[in-house]
């Protein structure tokens, strides 16, 4: 049963990702990105990373996707512009894609995979919370400074448009 659900989510992720890549309508592409994000969140759950999965949904589905849709809404004369249809520098793109594919395949094929017992599912948020507020407290505070920088930088950049 779990295997079946895993493959269903695999199909959802791949199918919606290919719609993103091949759709000629930008709005369809953005909305099918929703399926990709949810599928990836399901992958995280199968990898026993529940906190990452929830974060994926909260930030990517709830935030980044809204931002992307806003980006399209901001586009001037959206009905006349054809943005995602054109593709150029195909040879160069294909070369880069194959190079990355080989780079990924070499370690995957070189590794000897063992079919051990899968790890028992357990919640990770307690461990993350404990580590975040004891060993990695400095990084936690630095993260807030990073967010502050992102907030001020983004607001400044976006404001210049007016």
């Amino acid at each position: 049963m779990a295997d079946l659900i895993f493959w269903l989510f695999w199909g959802l992720t791949v199918a919606s990702a290919s719609i993103v890549a091949f759709s000629k309508n930008l709005i369809y592409a953005v909305f099918s990105l929703l399926g990709t994000f949810i599928g990836v969140a399901a992958m995280y759950i199968f990898l026993n990373a529940d906190f990452v999965a929830v974060t994926q949904i909260v930030i990517y589905v709830g935030g980044i996707l809204v931002l992307l849709i806003f980006g399209i809404m901001l586009t001037n004369r959206i009905t006349q512009t054809v943005i995602s249809e054109s593709s150029f520098q195909k040879m160069f793109g294909l070369t880069v894609v194959f190079a990355v594919l080989i780079m990924v395949l070499i370690p995957v094929l070189g590794h000897t995979w063992t079919n051990g017992e899968p790890m028992a599912f357990q919640e990770t948020i307690h461990q993350i919370g404990t580590l975040l507020f004891t060993d990695y407290i400095l990084l936690f505070e630095v993260a807030s400074i990073l967010l502050l920088g992102a907030l001020i930088g983004a607001a400044t950049l976006a404001r210049k448009e007016r």
Partner: protein, 144 residues
């Protein structure tokens, strides 16, 4: 643990199906005598004006960006809420510092006026909200 996610998945599937069931049932049993007025876009009872695609004000984008920053902040606060009982008051101070740093950002965007809402003014559009119409109203106000 995994079966809890099964419950969540079942809930999601049932929600999805219920939504589609509502559409399918109304398609099957609902009467089909549409007129032009019935098929018109519902705009709170007003007659719709202009096109469906309008360019959004860039200010909405800034607000969405600010939203994402505080979205990420909440993600950091969630593990804190879970372990707060075990780790005690010290973590409260740590989170206080964390939020204080981000409040500086909120104060910055507030002071710079990014959170201010805008009056809708269509530069080239027609209708109630077009620039010429709004200008007329302002002139009337001044005259009165």
């Amino acid at each position: 643990m995994l079966e809890h996610y099964g419950t969540a998945l079942a809930l999601g599937i049932v929600g999805f199906l219920l939504m589609y069931a509502a559409f399918i049932i109304q398609k099957l049993v609902g009467p089909k005598n549409s007129t032009d007025v019935k098929l018109d876009t519902y705009e709170c009872g007003e007659e719709p004006e202009g096109e469906t695609w309008i360019q959004f004000n860039v200010r909405f984008y800034v607000i969405a960006l600010i939203f994402i920053i505080f979205d990420i902040e909440v993600v950091f606060l969630f593990p804190w809420a879970v372990v707060f009982k075990d780790l005690g008051f010290l973590t409260f101070i740590e989170v206080f510092v964390f939020i204080s740093i981000l409040v500086v950002g909120l104060a910055y965007v507030w002071k710079k006026g990014d959170l201010q809402w805008v009056k809708m003014k269509l530069k080239y559009g027609t209708g109630r909200y077009s620039a010429s119409n709004l200008l007329e109203k302002e002139n009337l106000k001044e005259a009165a």
